[in-house]
Symmetry: C2
Subunit: 338 residues, 2 copies
C-alpha cells in the first residue's frame, strides 16, 4: 500500500509501506474512499508537537471494507463505512455512558492518509451505510468521522439550546462545522469569530448570524456588546491555544457553558477566575461514535453539508502539498483521493 | 448594635458598633434571629486572606424585619426572613438565568455576626415564611442561607441524578450538606471523603453510603475501586484547595461532572488534562436565592435537617470562642444566638 509519513516538521513523504493486516480478531481492513488532512496534523507539521522518529499520519477516513477479523460481525466485505478518529468497542462502561472516545480499549487512528487502513475495534467503531452513497456525499461523510463530529461535540458540550446565543471561537474546519451544529441545535444567534473573508462567507452560509473579527479581550468586548453586556449562553472553543481558551471563557455569560474541542497546548485555567465566572467547562476528544448514526443520517438527507469545508482536493500522492496549502492558509482543509 | 470585628488573624472582637441604617430605598434592616461562623471565615482568621484594616464579619443570617426602604414591598416589618450570603435584585439578566449570585447589583454580605443587619437588595434577596417558624427550625433555616444552599449547588453543578454515584470531597458543614443534597436528588451511592469519626457519623446519618478516609491520589484510587475502575458520575468539591480540586477531578469518570463550591485558593486546572478526562467542571458562589423557596419548604416539612451541622451553640458575644473552636476542629460549625 501507499501512505503518508512525517519525517520532521514540514517533511511529509508519500511512500510505499507494508500492507495492513488483521492483527486482532476485532480488526478490519478498509480500502480508503477518501481521506484528508486535519488542522491537528499541523501541530507536528509545524514542530509544535515532538516526534522521535518518522511515523504515518492521518486519522480521518471513509472506505470500503476489504476484510474483517473473526469477531467482527457488524460490517462486511464491500460495505461503505464511516468511523471515528478514536476507535471504541462500544460496549465498555465509558462507551455505554456515551464517551466512546474514552473507551477502555480506545486506540487513536494514526495511519489514515493511505489507500488501505487497519481499523482496530472495528465492531464498535465502524458504521455502514445501507447502500454505497453517491461520490458527491463522500466528503461530507468523511467530515463526520472527525471535524463534523467534533463540531457537534463542541455544541453539545457547550449545551447549545434552541433560542440560545452561541459563539464559535476558531474558523478552521472544526469551527465551521461547529456553526453547522449550533444551527442544527436551534441556536438563534450564532457569532463566528473570524478574520478571513472566505471563512466568514462559509460561516454565514452554514448559519452564522454575526461575524466578529476582533480577537482576545477586544473580541470579548465585542461579544459583550452583542449580548446585552453579559456574554453568550454557549461558547464553542475550536482552536486549542491558551489565548482562544481565555477568550472563550471570558465570552460566556455567568452560568453559560464553554465546550472546548481544540487539543489544548499550554492551556491553563485559573480556579478562582472560573469560580467567580459561574461558567461550566467541558471538552475532550469528540465521542464521534455516539453521534455517527444521527450525523450520517443528516448528511444522507442533505440536512447538513460539512464536506463544503474541503476547499482543496488533491490526489492522495500529493498529500505533502495538502499540508503546505493548509499551513500557509491557502486552504481550509484538503481532501485526498486515492 | 453589637457585632464581631476581625482585627488581625486570630483576633476577633465583639464590639459596640453604629446601628445599621437604610442607605438605599432597596435596603431592609433585620434583627438577627440566629447567625453563625462559616468555614470560609477561617481563611482570614488563619491569615490566609489578607485584610488591610479591621472589618466586620459574617454572611449567614435569619431574622425579623425591622424596617424596609421605600422600594421594598415583598417583605414587611415583623416577618421572619431567610436570605443569602450574596444579595441580588432577582430581576437582572443573570438573576433571570438562575445565577443570582452573579446579580449585576450583587453585594456580598459581610456584617452578619451582629444583632442587627442591613440587607441590600432586600426585595430580591429575602424570602419570608408564612408564619414565624418554631425556634427548633431556626438553625436549619439559617443553614439554608449559605451551607445548605451551597451544598445543593455543589450537587446541582455536579449534575447529580437519580441512581447515580456521588463523591463528596470535604467533610465540613458544606460537604455534609452536599451529602444531604445528593441524597435528596436521588443519588444511589454517596461516598463521603472524611477522616473524622464525628463527621463520618453525621455524613452517614445524612445519607452517605460509603466513607473513604484516604486523601489525594490514594483517595482517588479508593474511589476507582468503588466505582468499577472508571470513577464517579458526580464529584462535589467542598474545600477550595488545589489538592481537593485535583482529587475531585481525578475521581470523576469520563463524562462525569465536578461541582466546585469551596472558594478556590491557588487552584489551577491543566487544560490538556481536563480535555482528556472528559470531565465537566462548574463552580462558583451558590445561587442560593434560586433554591430558597424549595429548600425552606424542605426544612419546614422536616425533609432535611441541615441545622444538625451546628455542633456548638454560643451566645453571640462569645463569637471569638466560636472561631477558635472551629479553627481547632473542636466544632464543625458554631451557631450564635444574639
Amino acid at each position: 500500500m501507499r501512505g503518508a509519513m512525517i519525517y520532521a516538521p514540514g517533511d511529509i513523504r508519500f511512500e510505499t509501506l507494508d500492507d495492513p493486516e488483521i492483527l486482532n480478531p476485532t480488526d478490519a481492513i478498509i480500502r480508503t474512499a477518501v481521506t484528508c488532512v486535519c488542522g491537528s496534523d499541523l501541530w507536528p507539521y509545524r514542530g509544535l508537537e515532538q516526534a522521535d522518529e518518522p511515523h504515518p499520519m492521518g486519522h480521518e477516513y471513509v472506505g470500503f471494507v476489504e476484510e474483517v477479523g473473526s469477531e467482527v460481525t457488524s460490517v462486511k466485505q464491500g460495505q461503505f463505512v464511516i468511523g471515528s478518529f478514536a476507535t471504541s468497542d462500544n460496549t465498555c462502561a465509558n462507551c455505554l455512558n456515551g464517551f466512546q472516545s474514552s473507551c477502555l480499549h480506545r486506540e487513536f487512528m494514526t495511519t489514515c492518509q493511505a489507500d488501505r487502513i487497519r481499523i482496530p475495534n472495528a465492531q464498535g467503531t465502524l458504521v455502514a451505510t445501507e447502500h454505497v452513497p453517491g461520490k458527491e456525499l463522500w466528503p461530507s461523510l468523511l467530515a463526520v468521522s472527525d471535524v463534523m463530529g467534533t463540531g457537534w461535540w463542541a455544541a453539545d458540550a457547550a449545551e447549545v439550546k434552541p433560542g440560545s446565543t452561541a459563539v464559535v471561537v476558531g474558523d478552521g474546519a472544526v469551527g465551521l462545522c461547529a456553526v453547522i451544529a449550533a444551527r442544527e441545535m436551534g441556536a438563534e444567534r450564532i457569532i463566528a469569530m473570524s478574520r478571513h473573508a472566505s471563512r466568514q462567507k462559509l460561516a454565514r452560509e452554514f448559519g452564522a448570524t454575526d461575524i466578529v473579527a476582533e480577537r482576545g479581550e477586544e473580541g470579548v468586548e465585542r461579544i459583550r456588546e452583542l449580548t446585552g453586556g453579559i456574554g453568550a449562553d454557549s461558547v464553542l472553543e475550536c482552536v486549542g491555544t491558551n489565548e482562544a481558551m481565555q477568550q472563550a471563557l471570558h465570552s460566556a455569560r455567568p452560568g453559560g457553558n464553554v465546550g472546548f474541542v481544540g487539543v489544548p497546548h499550554d492551556v491553563g485555567v485559573d480556579g478562582q477566575e472560573l469560580f467567580f465566572s459561574h461558567v461550566g467547562l467541558r471538552g475532550g476528544p469528540a465521542p464521534v461514535r455516539r453521534y455517527l448514526p444521527d450525523l450520517v443520517g443528516r448528511v444522507l438527507t442533505g440536512a447538513i453539508e460539512p464536506g463544503r469545508v474541503f476547499d482543496l482536493t488533491l490526489p492522495l500522492d500529493e498529500v505533502a502539498e495538502g499540508y503546505r496549502a493548509m499551513d500557509e492558509r491557502r486552504a481550509i482543509k484538503t481532501l485526498l483521493k486515492p
